[in-house]
Amino acid sequence: MLDLSVNIGAMRLKNPIMPASGTFSEDCAKLFDIDALGAHVTKTITRDIRGGNPTPRVCEVRGSMLNSIGIPSKGVDYFKTNVIPFYDQYQTPLVVSISAGSADEFAQICEEVSVPGVAAIEVNISCPNIEADGKAFAMRPSTTEAVMRKLRAATDLPLWAKLTPNTGETTEVAQAAESAGADALVVANTMLSMAIDIHTRKPKLGNLMGGLSGPALKPIALRMVYQCAKAVSIPVIGCGGIATVEDVVEYLIAGASAVQVGTATFISPTVMVRLISELEAFLRTEGLSSVSELIGSIRDEEASDGVFFAEAAE
């Protein structure tokens, strides 16, 4: 029997495939059996009702996309009365993503969503759109540590800190989150980017800038996952540009204990179920019996040589 299950701290997931926040909703249940997933991760919510950013909110760049959705939110009450009960129908653990403009407000919503039906809380301390010029809590170790301590005090549920690729201090931020009590890291959110329509000379996003996601982000987020997995001892959940089973395996080898799939769901809404079965097939082909054998199995000790001869192509 192939064992696809993974542990994220005390949580056991039946497989390592889950959606990324903001790229999944109840609507997915119309497309496939969402109980097949390792976890359900909801779009980030804020306490109060928010409208989100001006349109256009997405645009395409070569082989990837930018978004400046912002965090439109129907508020925490709507979430508790409507969204949690929906996911209660399923066995799969529910992970609620939250955000706030200040650490205190963050702690408050964290407490408010610590209710039955919620298995873990993902804290989006990295959204590049919510504060001016993309400076989010997760840009600096100090602000990460401060907000994470308040969040830690506000709930007994597992806390997943979602990091940003926009910082130059990835490992320091990761360690700050860990030392402040994070149970896992989600690595990473989108990368602050821009696109301009050369004919109108207007930014392609109504919000001027937005976050890069999709395949272009993968080498960057994968590097961060590797750095984080080396720097902390809590589990790392990889996220960024995953579209194929090879991508999933690459993240696991780099040190991720599970992965989140975002933009790929827009390209193929049933991609996650396919990835689960392809991951199983991959294990079988490689003669492995469990996903855990892949996690962190990168062979980084040897300086690989890579010099090869004609024979290699034979």
Partner: protein, 271 residues
């Protein structure tokens, strides 16, 4: 469990049966589609994964109104115009190739019980969106009048399609000077006087929207409009496709892909 109390949505790979220009500007693509994805409503759409063709590499899907759905024949039709990279790639698909489609999506047009005399006002690709309404009207035994507008008589479309479905067709064109807002308003007013209209349907431009809102308000006639907006997911998860609506004196946002693409004509806001 896939939640079947909700209307299911399918991601399906369909074979292209044909993909031909129908006039100087528009093309019709016909897909071989399994009948379970053809339980559609007029006004609904599919989200198409336009192929990679040479330098054309569209990334996101492209929304496309259902121009025709034929469960018996197992056919799904889209009428489209080349607008950019995605539709250009779509036009390069040849018979026998595959196209990945997601749908049916969104909420389509309603025909309420007391709406006996329907009037459609359409232009350009709007005709693609409104054509299936004629079929439904015929099935429900309602009378439908279609005002079809175009730049010139040569690029008028779907006239025969509407006629075949029992609709009365009135054509107006820019080149003949009959499609301007004033001319159209007179035409519609005359039609309301002569025969009466119980509901309007459109997916017109800003100007058309404003004009129809005025006429409908004046006569207390209900109306529906299909709107467009850039889409990523197409099924309601990403919230990129919102537009503003005026409802009970408040401005609200709704998703074109999920609450729409068909909305109350009076609530819609121009740009």
């Amino acid at each position: 469990m896939t939640d079947m109390t909700l209307n299911p949505i399918f991601e399906t790979i369909c074979r292209v049966k044909s993909n031909e220009p129908i006039n100087r500007e528009y093309r019709l693509i016909v897909l071989d589609a399994p009948s379970h994805i053809l339980k559609c409503e007029p006004g609904q759409f599919f989200h198409l994964l336009c192929p990679t063709k040479g330098d054309l590499r569209p990334y996101l899907r492209r929304p496309m109104s259902i121009y025709g759905f034929y469960p018996e024949a197992g056919e799904l039709h889209f009428l489209y115009k080349i607008a950019g990279e995605g539709t250009a790639a779509l036009s390069a698909l040849e018979a026998g190739e595959n196209l990945n489609v997601v749908g049916p999506l969104g909420h389509g047009f309603d025909i309420q019980d007391d709406w006996q005399k329907l009037m459609v006002v359409a232009r350009g690709v709007g005709l693609a969106t409104l054509a299936p309404l004629a079929q439904k009207a015929q099935q429900m035994g309602r009378k439908l009048t279609a005002i079809c507008s175009a730049r010139s008589p040569e690029v008028l479309m779907s006239i025969d399609h509407f006629k075949a479905l029992g609709a009365e067709v009135i054509t107006v064109t820019d080149s003949e000077g009959t499609s301007g807002v004033e001319a159209l308003e007179q035409l519609i007013e005359a039609h309301i006087q002569a025969e009466g209209v119980d509901a309007f349907y459109t997916c017109g431009s800003n100007r058309l929207l404003t004009m129809l809102q005025t006429i409908c308000a004046r006569h207390g006639i209900p109306g529906q409009i299909a709107l467009e907006q850039q889409m990523a997911c197409g099924v309601g998860m990403c919230q990129c496709c919102v537009r503003s609506f005026r409802r009970k004196d408040k401005i609200i946002h709704e998703r074109v892909c999920k609450e729409g693409p068909v909305f109350n004509l009076q609530e819609a806001m121009g740009c």
